[in-house]
């Protein structure tokens, strides 16, 4: 285990750029993953990730260490992702299929599966639902923290997470064998 997040954050707040870079580098993959699940589109997710990292870099001095750094970070990331989603909704753009290309180290079959199953399934539910799912399944936050970040009751968090997972479960069930779907859902 390396230097704790809180120590890096404190050093970064004092102007230690190396500490800031280490801290951001440590969490960038997870921030991107959260943004990716919320926004679906890879380029939008990269933009939101960049916005989130910039916001963290600028506001690192305001992190008081009372909460976990990741809770604070994921709140910033979620705000960036939802902001990006709102901007995209105001200004729809044609989808550039070529921008969602694989990174070199990701097998193409897993990427395709990821796109077809997870993205398609999550695209069937509203962005606010995807936000709850991403904060839970990628951020590992508990329902109370998610509720606070999204400004909704914990019970709503639970139902949104269930609905997001169910959308994917239904899709996976449909792909493998429709007869294996044991609960039909109205969407």
């Amino acid at each position: 285990m390396g230097t704790p997040d809180a120590d890096l954050a404190a050093a970064a707040a004092r102007g230690d750029r190396r500490a800031l870079e280490d801290l951001l580098d440590r969490h960038t993959d997870r921030v991107f993953a959260i943004c990716r699940r919320v926004l679906i589109d890879r380029e939008d997710a990269l933009d939101a990730t960049q916005e989130a990292l910039i916001a963290v870099a600028r506001r690192i001095g305001t992190f008081d260490g009372r909460a976990q750094f990741t809770t604070w970070l994921y709140r910033v990331a979620m705000n960036a992702a939802l902001d990006e989603s709102r901007r995209r909704a105001r200004r729809p753009l044609p989808i550039d299929l070529n921008t969602d290309r694989a990174s070199a180290d990701v097998p193409i079959d897993s990427l395709v599966a990821d796109r077809v199953d997870v993205d398609a399934a999550l695209a069937t539910i509203p962005v606010e639902f995807r936000a709850a799912v991403a904060l839970r399944d990628l951020g590992g936050l508990d329902y109370a923290d998610i509720a606070e970040i999204l400004g909704i009751p914990p019970g709503t968090v639970r139902s949104r997470i269930a609905r997001g997972r169910a959308a994917l479960a239904d899709r996976l069930g449909n792909r493998d064998d429709p007869s294996h779907r044991h609960t039909e859902r109205s969407t």
């Binding site: 870079e21 916005e51 870099a57 990174s103 990821d114 479960a169 044991h182």
Partner: protein, 277 residues
């Protein structure tokens, strides 16, 4: 709820309970659904296919959590952009007072170019287009005041760069000749894009000194070029609005890619940067 304790649960309730159990939240979910945890479990047991459904939900959770990592280059770029220091105001002040020495060559040429900016009114009439084409042949730096431009995020900046006229993008990717930047006077066009009025003037026809704002704007690109290690002088500048205030986008080349920087013209502080793929 009208169900008896051993009635099968509705599909939504099954999903909510099973999903919550995967997160250690089963008891709270049961209570919220009006049942004790024991009742909820009994009714799940009475629901056909609940066990398979639970496996499917857990598999879905795992699939959602299984996100591919970023490649190293992209991750490094994101981090370095975020962690890049801003230009302190005192540096700019010191430079304006003559205490900050800069290499004369490329930066001075860039400054000269920004002063002698070139028009580009891609959405204006044919006359403006012809003017733009002629101008781009002699001096690649272009300045357009875009009254309706709003850039509030990296996404906006990326779209903005993508939406620039082809001549600008060609300038950004083509090899640059330094002698192009010394040509003066060059025409200056402030074009309001989107059907608004355009005003064109030749910078060679006036000897008026730039006002304070303009002076700041002239200084900023050179500062940013140095700070961001641009490999070209300024290619184009454009006045936009960001978060409701005036801002400027300046384009450079960096490592054969287009580097766009949105900055505050009063402080030279970069607000958003974008490096094309």
């Amino acid at each position: 709820m009208t169900d008896t304790p051993l009635d099968p649960l509705a599909p939504e309730a099954v999903d909510e309970l099973l999903s919550a159990r995967a997160d250690g939240e089963f008891d709270a979910a049961a209570r919220d659904l009006g049942m004790t945890p024991l009742d909820a479990q009994a009714r799940l047991d009475a629901t056909p296919g609940a066990r398979e459904r639970e496996r499917a939900l857990v598999a879905a959770r795992d699939a959602i959590a299984d996100a591919p990592p970023l490649d190293d280059v992209t991750r490094r770029r994101l981090v370095q952009r975020a962690a890049a220091p801003v230009v302190p105001a005192r540096v700019l002040g010191a430079r304006r007072s003559g205490r900050w020495l800069v290499p004369a060559g490329g930066i001075a040429a860039a400054i000269a170019l920004v002063i002698g900016v070139v028009a580009l009114a891609h959405s204006s009439g044919s006359g403006a287009k012809a003017s733009s084409a002629n101008a781009s042949a002699t001096a690649p730096t272009q300045h357009v005041t875009e009254a309706s431009g709003q850039i509030n995020s990296a996404a906006d900046l990326r779209r903005f760069v993508r939406g620039l006229p082809d001549s600008v993008n060609r300038s950004a990717t083509a090899p640059l000749q330094s002698e192009n930047y010394g040509a003066a006077p060059t025409p200056t066009t402030h074009a309001a894009v989107g059907g608004l009025s355009a005003k064109t003037q030749a910078s060679g026809t006036t000897n008026a000194k730039p006002n304070r704002d303009e002076a700041l704007r002239v200084d900023c690109p050179a500062t940013l070029a140095k700070q961001l290690h641009a490999t070209s002088p300024v290619l184009a500048t454009r006045t936009v609005r960001s978060q409701g205030t005036r801002a400027v986008v300046v384009l450079f080349v960096k490592d054969k890619r287009t580097l766009a920087v949105l900055y505050d013209p009063k402080t030279c502080v970069p607000l958003i940067t974008y490096l094309s793929p």
